[in-house]
Symmetry: C2
Subunit: 193 residues, 2 copies
DNA sequence: CAAATTAATGAACATCCGTTCAAAAGCAAA
DNA sequence: TTTGCTTTTGAACGGATGTTCATTAATTTG
């Protein structure tokens, strides 16, 4: 046997990325073999190398794709700092809740990146954090927030918001709207607004 | 060759646990082989099996040890809810900052636990979370906190506090005392106290 | 319909994996 | 010093790992 009937790069390629994403998130990068991915796609392991130069690139591409989508979607808000902060909180929770697997990978598999890849991915994440820090810094300068160390507050808020992903499930006790409302309430109070 | 000069279970045993802890935290459970651990301990892979029945037990024992130490150290505080909450925040940050590798493993390697082990470890973590929830619930009942959903607030605070471990380094810009003070400020405001 | 291109197979590569175990050597007690 | 216990070696087990590549079949192009 060789090429199979109905095989197309436009179908197999995305399937491989989706499957790798799901398996990496479920079991961890190191615990997933190329043969596992291939089996779920319905293909032999060798075929994966028509779509990725190696396993590491599969991981890096997923991470980069996620973080670039995050940066593209998180357009800096207009309006006063309080409105900007509210929009950031709402956006962060909703965007992350929509992509649990991507978020999981981007936070948990950093140590499996080769140094050059780690640097690149970390820079992308940093750019996102800077967006929040700017809001807090501007708000503090304008006297709207009680924030003396905007770096710490940035990291604290992001950790808190991203933590939603560890427990939130669609169809659970709370709707996403309710979650957003509750977290916004906590964040607003925490920054003294 | 066989038994080596100066070899003792009282030395090799702890060394194995320490090395496994460090390597699991640095590279991840699945990416660490028994031969790697053995090499760093200065022993052949077979010798590890005098100290653990298998690799999985090495991981579970490290997690259980950490969580049991956490529960033993986190004695329920006396005093009013506000003082209890302050003590919890301070304790959590300090205890976790002291044990970055244990914390990392206990949060990141859950998916590498066999189902029965996962259930056991998850129950221990839940017992710890319940300590904070009780404080928040009591404080809300006493009218000291503005907290309507104590479960959500519990998870949000724990995520925020544990997030310290992702960036805090001894000898960095901030001392642990300063970190504790800043986070306590945020938590106090967030619960409306 | 023929030729060119695309997409997959399946075997092979060297290496690593967790784990077992008989044999050997150091140590402690008599 | 001899005996018995403790601790480790080193080889071996079957199987899994990431990756390469000649071959072949399906599809697209002309």
């Amino acid at each position: 046997m060789a090429r199979t009937t109905g095989s197309h790069a436009g179908i197999t390629g995305p399937k491989i990325r989706q499957t790798a994403l799901r398996l990496f998130a479920q079991r961890g990068y190191a615990a997933v073999s190329m043969r596992m991915i291939a089996a779920e796609v319905g293909v032999q392991a060798g075929a994966l190398y028509n779509y990725t130069p190696d396993k590491q690139s599969l991981l890096v591409d997923l991470m980069r794709g996620h973080l670039e989508a995050l940066l593209a979607a998180a357009v800096p808000a207009k309006g006063d700092p309080l409105a900007q902060l509210e929009q950031f909180v709402s956006f962060h929770i909703r965007f992350h809740a929509d992509r649990p697997d991507e978020v999981f990978i981007a936070y948990m598999e950093l140590r499996n990146l080769e140094p050059a890849n780690f640097t690149e991915i970390e820079a992308l994440r940093r750019r996102y954090e800077d967006r929040l820090e700017k809001i807090l810094h501007d708000g503090a300068a304008a006297g709207v927030f009680e924030v003396t160390d905007s770096k710490i507050v940035t990291l604290a808020i992001i950790a808190m918001l991203t933590g939603v992903n560890t427990w939130f499930r669609d169809g659970g006790r709370l709707s996403l709207d309710e979650v957003v409302a509750q977290y916004w309430d906590m964040v607003r109070k925490a920054v003294g607004a």
